[in-house]
């Protein structure tokens, strides 16, 4: 599996070095060509017609977890996916990360099709996925050294320390994951993903296992880092308030199987958002009620209307829509 990785990587760097030659390269599929020629209008990340079927014994054509997913993410945008457990959120993220393959459709990032994992996309996993035999610092150093194999030990260490300090873990560098609290582990995972300075971050319910207080403080840290680095982020969450606090766009998924994108909600709340004062903004409750209503009712009962087009899921502006409707 991994042996085939190396040539793909070299092809990629060639392609990025000389964009005009890219379409003639073996790796540049027709999809990538399309991505290149229309780059001016294409978003940074484009998901087209994504579908994932898991083979089931005794069923030749099992119901796909999701199908006909189309959406895009602009550079620097923070997109949250909201949906019930089992609708396929982790599966989407794995496909974006290149860890899993779609049955149909494709993902194009920065003009090139996603095939296999890449250092361009940093992943924070649903479980923290730290290596328990390494200290917090060594866990981050492992990632930094992967990104910069030519760096000296000192450079690697300084870079790793910098990112651990960013998540306020400068005091716990030499602690093993077993000696860290759940929130601290999650922060090491975030520092690890940020430390490789990827083009895009993929976060799979990074705060799912945390208590409300810890969750709040790490969310604030995340807001700080994302705003400072202008990261493009794709994040999965169960939590409506988390989505409102963090996201520019909120992708609403219906329940699986055959999950779809019902709509994409545009967050009307201005940045920077501060948790303490967020609920005082007039649009807050309209937005929140809209999302909760979707999770409680519409995610289950969603029926595509006549003008619902999976290729262009409706963009909803709850603050304004509810007044005009």
């Amino acid at each position: 599996m991994n042996a085939s990785l190396a040539p793909v990587v070299t092809l990629r760097t060639q392609a990025s070095g000389d964009l005009d030659d890219a379409p003639s390269l073996a790796s540049a599929s027709s999809a990538a060509k399309k991505g290149l020629t229309t780059m001016t209008t294409q978003p940074f990340l484009k998901v087209e017609g994504l579908k994932r079927q898991f083979p089931q014994p005794g069923k030749p054509d099992p119901a796909p977890v999701f199908e006909e997913l189309h959406f895009g993410i602009e550079r620097g945008q923070f997109v949250c996916v909201l949906g019930h457990s089992g609708c396929g959120k982790t599966t989407i993220l794995n496909i974006l990360a290149g860890l899993d393959e779609a049955t149909d459709g494709h993902v194009i990032m920065d003009g090139r099709e996603v095939r296999g994992p890449s250092l361009d996309r940093g992943v924070v996993f649903q479980g923290h996925a730290l290596m328990p035999w390494l200290s917090a610092l060594k866990n981050v150093e492992f990632a930094v050294r992967s990104r910069h194999p030519d760096w000296s030990a000192k450079q690697v260490r300084e870079h790793a320390v910098k990112y651990l300090e960013l998540v306020h873990l400068g005091h716990a560098l030499d602690k093993k994951p077993a000696e860290l609290s759940g929130g601290m582990k999650q922060r090491v995972g975030i520092a690890r993903a940020f430390s490789i300075e990827p083009k895009m971050l993929l976060l799979d319910e990074p705060f799912g296992a945390l208590d409300a207080l810890t969750r709040g403080s790490i969310q604030d840290e995340l807001i700080g880092i994302v705003e400072a680095t202008q990261q493009t982020v794709f994040m999965i969450t169960h939590d409506v308030d988390e989505a409102i606090l963090l996201a520019d766009r909120i992708v609403l998924m219906t329940n699986g199987p055959r999950a779809k994108i019902a709509e994409i909600v545009v967050n009307p709340l201005a940045r920077p958002r501060v948790r303490e004062t967020l609920h005082q903004q007039p649009a807050f409750y309209t937005l929140r009620n809209h999302l909760v209503d979707f999770l409680v009712k519409r995610s289950r009962e969603f029926q595509p209307g006549p003008d619902w087009d999976p290729k262009h899921p409706p963009l909803v502006h709850p603050g304004q829509a509810s007044q005009s409707a």
């Binding site: 991994n2 042996a3 990785l5 290149g98 994992p117 890449s118 035999w133 390494l134 077993a178």
Partner: protein
């Protein structure tokens, strides 16, 4: 924690009790009581000592202690093939065990890695492992002697064979059950296969591998005594067999104690390494 001295005290008590019973059983106070009842042929077999009178052939704790002291004060004497110090004999055994064991580790750990990483190789090799694993290592001995034609190397081969399986099976299992999420981390970081093998899979599987290595060293130490009894020449197993022929029960008991001690030491070394490389989640 509160009464930490209780267990050692109890151990000492058990030891004293054991030595006491041993002493009483072997001091044979009623003298000639046993001798007249003894079958004359058996008495003849038991040798002059038994014939001479009621003195039990079984040595008492005092004699064994004296013998141990004698061996301890001169462990490495060498007076010909059949009369070497216990230190020399046990060194031969340890050398054979380590030789066969390290060879087995050299084969089992890389092979186990391959088996653990590839379900195909695992399926292909599984029937062989299933059949070869339950074979008593001593059953290989004649075949080894016939093909290798050297008794010393044959003993090492037998140790190799018996230490191979636990290490192989445990390595394969440990490697196959490395968490998917750690492998995914390595994949998203585009880690090279070599770095992945040594920095992710090896440390993740190390505790399981070490468990296999600990089982192996235990088995190897069990087997070496039997193997040396068979091939003869040198080693603690041969020593025991030779002393049985000399009817020196005192020497045999001393050797048995030493075998136990060395076995415990080997196990403790492996346990110590296992503790050093284990990780907690």
């Amino acid at each position: 924690m509160k009464k930490a001295w209780l267990a050692p005290l109890l151990s000492a008590l058990f030891f004293a009790l054991f030595v006491g019973v041993w002493y009483l059983a072997t001091s044979a106070p009623s003298g000639g009581g046993a001798a007249p009842d003894m079958d004359p042929e058996y008495a003849a077999l038991m040798g002059a000592q038994a014939q001479a009178g009621g003195q039990s052939a079984m040595p008492g704790p005092g004699e064994v202690a004296a013998k141990i002291w004698e061996h301890l004060s001169d462990p490495f004497y060498d007076r010909g093939t059949n009369d070497k110090g216990l230190g020399i004999q046990i060194s031969y055994s340890i050398a054979r065990v380590l030789g066969g064991y390290l060879l087995a580790a050299l084969v089992a750990i890389p092979l186990g890695f391959v088996i653990g990483m590839s379900p195909l190789v695992y399926k292909a090799l599984d029937p062989f492992i299933q059949i070869l694993k339950p074979i008593s290592p001593l059953a290989w001995m004649p075949l080894a002697l016939y093909t290798i034609k050297d008794s010393g190397i044959s003993a090492i081969f037998v140790i190799f064979i018996c230490s191979l399986w636990p290490m192989l099976v445990n390595t394969a299992f440990g490697v196959a059950s490395v968490r998917r999420e750690w492998l995914n981390v390595a994949r998203t970081l585009e880690v090279s296969p070599m770095r992945k093998a040594f920095l992710v899979i090896l440390p993740a599987a190390a505790p399981t591998i070490l468990t296999g290595m600990r089982i192996s060293i235990g088995i190897a130490w069990l087997v070496i005594v039997a193997a040396e009894m068979l091939v003869g020449g040198t080693g603690i197993g041969y020593f025991v067999w030779n002393e049985w022929n000399n009817l020196s029960i005192t020497n045999i008991i001393t050797a048995i104690l030493l075998i136990g001690l060395v076995g415990m030491l080997l196990d403790h070394i492996l346990a110590w390494i296992a503790r050093a490389i284990s990780w907690r989640e």
